[in-house]
């Protein structure tokens, strides 16, 4: 179909967006100057009139910054998608934004005043490092979409949790960074607009030189190779330049997620076909999209207060991602097969479980009685004070690990983590909502909020994935979208300067130190329940990894059994999240450690990893208690800190084995 005969064309969707965006801006501008003074305000404002000066030196540059930043992010997003052959690749899903944010946070903490130039350099370094790690890991699996997104997610989450730790301890000094990070587009002069324009003028033409090779990059590797291109070097170069462009924009305007994703998809859906059309129309639509978002934020500021534009786009973008997932055609993701199909050594498996069962009480007793910082205390007093948190940690670790083993089995993806199912992000959102609605008086309010949030968000993910038989891809991507939503809201609260922010952060990060005896007993009850229920799922867990065809041949309905298992996993994860926070990676790590220790067969892996998970969490809880004595670092944060790098190491290892085979 030629572009002119289509009902929807890029031009036809651009015009109403432009009208709406500029219209909103015009409304805002006319709130400051009367129509008669408009041309004066735009061209040569009267220094004695604040309205005219404000329009000229704040609103106009803001409009320019929105257009330029939107164009740049969309342009880079299209390049990432083409280069990585992945419709969901964009600066935020690749970890660039979080990497830049962490680097800038560290910079702010190390120097008293940060110049714009220093921030550019830090943003550049952080962004390049993140993309470097993500792409070097994903290269080993041939830039498989799932590997890429999961790596990006882990980098984002690890960098994010590092930022959260910094926020917990330096909350008062990081307000400026948080405001930057939340993506406020307020301007006080033309400095940012000029800097952005200069960057685009140089980098966009450079990137346009790669149009032809990029077209080829969209083809299969084999085709490209037959055309005589050095794909690897071309990809690396384009990836590098596009990352530089993104990071330099982000350093100026802050974290503005999903504009790149939305704009390039809109361009494609509107009929932009060639890479040139997609790049240019995508950039225009991106510019208009951010203008529109910012216009809405600007006009509604008088009613609902100052909301950073980046938060608005992240919320809208996450919702859009869920809609896209619901309607996107089935993905052609290549999942890595798990290596756990060797049933030949059942005795080794039993020995392993026995060994774990010896180690677990040993770790628990050590943590209960150690006296590193509490010399000469009555040991029974210590045990009495510590047992609830240790039992809570152990139960949460066990539940997460069991959930992780099942998730990895049914998704046939050794990198899947139950935290990525959307349950944890939803629980965090629910806890935050509970704080603002119900206050902090009762410890039950946040727990109730957490449960409600987890149920709601997981239902959302299930609704998205239902039409696709609960296949792994949509479920995990839906989870990523919910996670992005949660982190956008958290960054908004942190940026608001509310003194409760660090408290809320600590709560969402899983405070095992707040566990009471009752909470611990409830947690243990659920963990034991899960353990005793797990034999019921044994056949499904053994058969589902063999593929849907095999499952059907053996009389199992793959869609329904996956759905039931997902609900089981989500329940476990939800309960554990309330205790150790949304991001511990224990569910991902434990099954791997189990496999490395020699566990074979899904059931054996599940049981071994359950004990390993419990031991890991007890250790994390102990580290959190002693690392910054007498302050507590939430155990979930400690586990995430260990878990992130471990996860990346596993991906590297996996990549090697797949490339060898």
């Amino acid at each position: 179909m030629s572009m002119t005969s289509r009902l929807i064309t890029p031009a036809r969707i651009s015009v109403p967006m432009a009208l709406a965006g500029f219209g909103l801006y015009a409304t805002a501008i006319l709130g400051y100057v009367p129509l008669t003074d408009l041309s004066a305000a735009l061209l040569h404002p009267d220094p004695a009139s604040f309205g005219q000066i404000y329009v000229h030196y704040s609103l106009l540059p803001r409009l320019l910054v929105a257009l330029l930043a939107g164009a740049a992010l969309a342009f880079a997003g299209t390049i990432f998608q083409q280069l990585l052959k992945n419709p969901l690749a964009e600066p935020s899903t690749l970890g660039i934004l979080s990497g830049a944010q962490l680097a800038i946070t560290l910079l702010t903490l190390s120097t008293a005043t940060v110049s714009a130039f220093q921030r550019d350099i830090a943003g550049l370094a952080g962004g390049l490092l993140a993309v470097g790690i993500v792409s070097s890991l994903a290269r080993k699996s041939g830039f498989s979409p799932m590997t890429l997104l999961l790596c990006g997610m882990v980098i984002s989450f690890s960098a994010g949790s590092a930022s959260v730790i910094l926020a917990l301890f330096h909350h008062e000094y990081l307000r400026g960074v948080f405001i930057w990070g939340s993506g406020s587009l307020i301007q006080n002069d033309y400095a940012n607009a000029i800097a952005l324009a200069a960057r685009l003028v140089i980098l966009v033409p450079v990137l346009l030189l790669f149009q032809r090779p990029l077209t080829v990059a969209g083809l299969d590797d084999a085709n490209a190779r037959s055309l005589g291109l050095s794909l690897a070097s071309m990809r690396a170069l384009v990836l590098f330049i596009a990352t530089v462009l993104t990071a330099l924009v982000v350093a100026r305007v802050g974290v503005i997620a999903f504009v790149g994703l939305a704009a390039s998809h809109a361009a494609r859906m509107a009929g932009a076909r060639t890479i040139r059309q997609r790049l240019l129309w995508g950039a225009l639509i991106g510019a208009l999209l951010l203008l529109l978002a910012d216009g809405i934020v600007l006009v509604s500021a008088s009613v609902i207060g100052e909301v950073p534009t980046g938060t608005a786009t992240a919320v809208a973008g996450a919702l859009m991602m869920l809609v896209l997932l619901k309607n996107a055609p089935p993905s052609r993701d290549q999942f890595m097969a798990t290596d756990g199909q060797d049933f030949s050594r059942p005795t080794a498996g039993r020995l392993l479980i026995a060994a774990c069962l010896v180690i677990l009480p040993f770790v628990a007793i050590l943590s209960l009685t150690e006296q590193v910082f509490t010399h000469g205390m009555d040991p029974w007093g210590l045990v009495a004070g510590r047992w609830p948190r240790i039992l809570t940690s152990a139960s949460a670790g066990a539940m997460l690990a069991m959930a992780g083993a099942i998730t990895q089995a049914i998704t046939r993806n050794p990198m899947a983590s139950p935290e990525g199912l959307g349950v944890s992000g939803g629980a965090a959102l629910g806890i935050i909502a509970a704080f603002f609605v119900g206050g902090m008086a009762s410890p039950l309010t946040p727990i109730a909020g957490g449960i409600l949030g987890a149920i709601l968000s997981f239902s959302l993910v299930l609704a998205v994935a239902r039409r696709r038989d609960y296949a792994a891809g949509p479920v995990l991507l839906g989870g990523i979208a919910v996670g992005a939503l949660a982190s956008a809201i958290i960054s908004l609260i942190v940026a608001s300067g509310d003194p409760r922010a660090s408290y809320i952060l600590a709560w969402t990060m899983g405070p095992t130190f707040r566990a009471t005896g009752i909470v611990a007993l409830i947690a243990a009850f659920f963990a034991l329940m899960a353990l005793s229920l797990s034999p019921l799922f044994r056949r499904w867990i053994d058969v589902l990894p063999l593929g849907d065809g095999t499952a059907r041949a053996l009389g199992i309905n793959p869609g329904r059994s996956r759905g039931v298992l997902l609900i089981f996993v989500a329940t476990l994860t939800g309960i554990a999240t309330l205790m150790v926070g949304p991001l511990s990676f224990v569910g991902m790590m434990a099954p791997h450690i189990a496999r490395m220790a020699g566990a074979r067969g899904q059931t054996c892996i599940m049981l071994t990893s359950t004990t390993i998970g419990a031991a890991l969490m007890i250790t994390a809880d102990w580290l959190g208690r002693t690392a910054d004595f007498p302050y507590e670092i939430p155990a979930g944060v400690i586990a995430a800190f260990i878990g992130g790098p471990y996860f990346l190491w596993v991906i590297r290892l996996n990549g090697k084995t797949t490339s060898r085979s």
Binding site: P47, Y54, E306, M377, P443, D498
Partner: protein, 253 residues
């Protein structure tokens, strides 16, 4: 120290009590603990349960409605939960009440009454001197970065102090739980008759030179003053400090 630690700490020092230090210093000085000192604990970052028990504090102070439940703390030692920033939205009154309650529980009624008497006398003094002030309402702002400002209004400690000494606060917009609002510079321009009080550290020099700043009505008419850093989320002593620095900032003598 964090927000809440500072807040409770200052209240105690003001009446001659020696708080049993903050959790971090509490660890360092553990062996200096004496029976007469009074422990208070923060809620944000929870101190070690084991350590708490080993110290046998006389009293635990906490912000009511935040952090762990009071029952949990009561297991360790008697606990006094003080509402400071509550739905009542009168932090100055709450701070005075908190001071009295701490005094009552620690047997320092005399010291507290003494301190409050002196403080109120001082506030009365300042209020009397305010008669010589031109009466221009104040817009009290603090820069969060070079673009956004926090503006202090109803429900905050500063607003209560201004009321107490008889100066009106220009900001009549909505404020959050802690009595401030965050906005861009255009919010300052909405109050052309106000005197802008900037709490240090002020904005970067580049902003002060900018056309935008120079065109603010308050800046053009020269109604801008800077005051020394003052703790926003403080208790009674912070209020006293604010009253003093605002008097100096306005040049009332």
């Amino acid at each position: 120290m964090n927000d809440v630690e500072r807040l409770l700490h200052s209240s105690m020092v003001s009446m001659g009590l020696r708080p049993f230090l903050t959790p971090r210093r509490l660890w360092k000085h553990r062996r200096l603990a004496d029976k007469n000192s009074c422990a208070y604990r923060l809620q944000w970052r929870i101190c070690h349960l084991g350590l708490d028990r080993s110290l046998k504090p006389d009293l635990i102070l906490s912000q009511a409605g935040y952090g762990v439940s009071q029952a949990w703390l009561e297991e360790i030692a008697p606990t006094l939960a003080l509402p400071l920033y509550s739905a009542e939205r009168k932090p100055l009154v709450a701070a005075e009440r908190a001071l009295k309650e701490i005094a009552a529980r620690t047997g320092r009624d005399h010291a507290a009454t003494d301190y409050l008497q002196r403080s109120h006398a001082r506030l009365d003094d300042i209020a009397a001197q305010v008669g010589r002030y031109d009466g221009r309402p104040l817009l009290i702002i603090k820069f969060t970065d070079d673009r956004l400002i926090d503006i202090y209004g109803a429900g905050g400690l500063f607003d209560d102090v201004l009321k107490r000494i008889g100066i009106s606060n220009a900001w009549d917009g909505a404020t959050n739980n802690w009595g401030f609002a965050t906005a861009g510079l255009d919010a300052v321009a909405r109050y052309p008759d106000a005197r802008v009080i900037i709490i240090e550290p002020g904005p970067p020099g580049r902003l002060l030179q900018s056309a935008l700043w120079q065109s603010l009505p308050a800046v053009r008419s020269g109604h801008v003053a800077t005051i020394a850093p003052t703790w926003v989320f403080g208790a009674f002593p912070s209020a006293m400090r604010f009253a003093d620095v605002i008097r100096q900032g306005l040049g009332i003598t």
